[in-house]
Symmetry: C2
Subunit: 505 residues, 2 copies
Amino acid sequence: MTLETVKNDFISHLNKISAYQEALGLIFWDLRTGAPKKAIEQRSEVIGTLSSEVFNLSTSDQMENYIKQLNEHKSELDELTVKMLEECEKEFNRNRKIPEDEFKKYVVLKSKAESVWEEAREQSDFAMFEPYLKELVDTTRRFVGYWGYEGNPYNTLLDMFEPGVTVEVLDEVFGKVREAIVPLVKGIEQSAVKPDTSFIYQQFSKDAQREFSLHVLKELGYDFDAGRLDETVHPFATGLNTGDVRITTRYDELDFRGAIFGTIHECGHALYEQNIDPALTGTPLSGGTSMGIHESQSLFMENFVGRHPEFWKRHLPSLKKFSPEQFKDVSVESFLSGINESKPSLIRVDADELTYTLHIMIRYEIEKGLFNGEYEVSELPDVWNRKYKEYLGVVPSNDAEGILQDVHWSGGSFGYFPSYALGYMHAAQFKNAMLKDIPDFDQHIADGDIAPIKNWMTEKVHRFGKTKKPLDILHEATGEGLNAEYLIKYLQDKYAALYDLEPVK
Amino acid sequence: MTLETVKNDFISHLNKISAYQEALGLIFWDLRTGAPKKAIEQRSEVIGTLSSEVFNLSTSDQMENYIKQLNEHKSELDELTVKMLEECEKEFNRNRKIPEDEFKKYVVLKSKAESVWEEAREQSDFAMFEPYLKELVDTTRRFVGYWGYEGNPYNTLLDMFEPGVTVEVLDEVFGKVREAIVPLVKGIEQSAVKPDTSFIYQQFSKDAQREFSLHVLKELGYDFDAGRLDETVHPFATGLNTGDVRITTRYDELDFRGAIFGTIHECGHALYEQNIDPALTGTPLSGGTSMGIHESQSLFMENFVGRHPEFWKRHLPSLKKFSPEQFKDVSVESFLSGINESKPSLIRVDADELTYTLHIMIRYEIEKGLFNGEYEVSELPDVWNRKYKEYLGVVPSNDAEGILQDVHWSGGSFGYFPSYALGYMHAAQFKNAMLKDIPDFDQHIADGDIAPIKNWMTEKVHRFGKTKKPLDILHEATGEGLNAEYLIKYLQDKYAALYDLEPVK
């Protein structure tokens, strides 16, 4: 068999995996957006069949052969094939190192744990979830043993979501960010400025919120010929292929922020996936390069575009058209002051821009401690509450608003949370670099002319998909490695202005 | 390997095929209900991959082995396994008899022919479509050669959609029906009764039509926990699994009939699929037993329930709530007279209950002639126009409203059309048998108490899925074979009353 034939067979094999994943993506989207409830039982079987097939195709002897044969001629291969090969090899090694029966048990455990978590959260009863969480942590610890690690066992988990980022890196940047945020939070607490937020909690019809969301999406460059907007309990974006990247949002008729900022956030994710080079379609390279870079795109859109003062100078008038009574007497200034109110709170997903990162740090420290052997699962509620007291000055009154609030751990996702904060730092760093190429950034926002901003991101980030590693993208786009200073500076300037604080030198 | 093991492996194999088919079903539903247009290119690849997999699994050496091994012990197998085996064997033999390269060419040809047909219909240009239709007919003739036939080559095609029904049967029943309909059509033409249909063509908002449709669906027993109603250009019902049977309808704000009767029609299909024995889920037996029986369910709901005078005595008041101006001065009698207007027309899908069957007969005679060697493709527009003149007294002024109006042939579906008329006959025959068990049928409709009617159909038809052959279902439910008399009597009585005709003795 010639190398060309092996390569073509390998790519067909990858196309097949990608086709099954696309079908799975549609099934998940459908389950969340409106599949009838009696569909679920049999649909789960379909998910099981397709997922097993993906797993089998990714870990088969055939895949092993492709990897072996192509590695023998790596120097003769084109760059794209090399990237695909490396991606597959990584996945293959990760999966093949786990004994098959343990992996199967783990899949079953995750699916059970998720439904137990749901129940436990409803009843606010950590004890109910505890044995499952323990089992998940134990299994993950064992898997890390199979996979191996450098420096710190938790590094291996971090690497799955943010290749190249380690405990050492995170400790440093999180330390800096924390050092900057804590005085800001204190300053705000003591500030005489008390934003009027009463305009937020007023009737704003769902239909009108949707209309406004669509209006904003168009301006941000979301391509409706390659996507659609639906409603779900938990908003998300899903890229089925680059021509079909769907977003969802949720509508609270007594608090429009969830829908508007949620939509803009998901739009950032969607712009990433819509603008990946179509040549990568059908390969494992057609997707975001990491969770952190993905989150940088959504947070960039949400915070650096969607909360920009010029954005609301432009859009408050149209908001007034959609809900005239509500915004009648609201000025741009009081609008910005209201939507940017910062207040320590218990629930991560409802947190403001400033305190959000503290929520992430708490989870990071707990996860790190779990895999370092510092904490055991049984201590977690105490650790959680202690850290909330320490970082945010608030203490959950029950498990539901504390340790049980997030779904991630029930799905075995350890190492994922830090990406949220990393994404935030990346976003600020991209913004800073972008200003050099687009010095009239503010004017573009004021004019609703987002194309140059979107195009910059496509040029520097989107189009590469997974062909570049996250830290390489960051470096090539901004000229440096991970740097928390841009986020810190942004938060300091923003909140000093909003709350009339002493500017930080 | 024990027989038990072979059987279990066989069933797992079938579950896998079923899972892929369910995923495909969802993909098709999604493409029709709202997938963004740029999704299509890559989604087609996904369809190709999954369809090939289904084809491969159905025709693989492994399938051949299962069939061989199970057939050797057929007498030791339970009834359900025997049915599955027979179903798979039929499919296997049909597909394996066609040389692989010819089959592949055929798949490509069909997909090309469909888009050419669309273009040709738009331009009303049969010449554009002719070479593709010729190729499709030639290929199908060759396939019939591989498959073999009894009596008439067209029988083999009929058997694919309506097992057990032959040209001999159809010639007889269609002859009788035609003999009865033609004088009715003439009588109506000469009748002094001219229904007032002006109330139909008035503004009826889409939202209100949808609300009314949902209202009716609930009453008919459609389970919304196992389905949903969406909007498409061409209405359809699709059973993904028995817990997820979706229907679609279309809304014309200046003619409510399409939405209302379309919804009721698709509801009939959906009730069939929702009420198949769940034990058959994941096997090839979980589906309608034939096109004709499926159509009997939709036409039963549409015509025998949805056009029942008692149905409208009950529902006209709620219709008046949904569109007050439109129906303000419309009595039940004039409503029924208007919606049941019969008038020869050119387009099958817009035809009334009485003339519909004539449209089907024309297509039947053309198809039969094509596979008998009586007609060549090039003659079809002439044959078509001549037959429309003869049967309906109207002549298309162009190909778009004549020979090019239906999609079926462009997809290679020859032998499908007669099912529509058979379904109509079955429906009338079921109704007649049902009356013996539910003599107060009319009262149930008047009370909106449809459950006993639906349950009768579930008991006699739905639950069996494909475990019984269509003619067996018909015979067991009605005590006799296909009998056109019930439909004839129904049409004679109905139109005599509506148009004040001499009753037929």
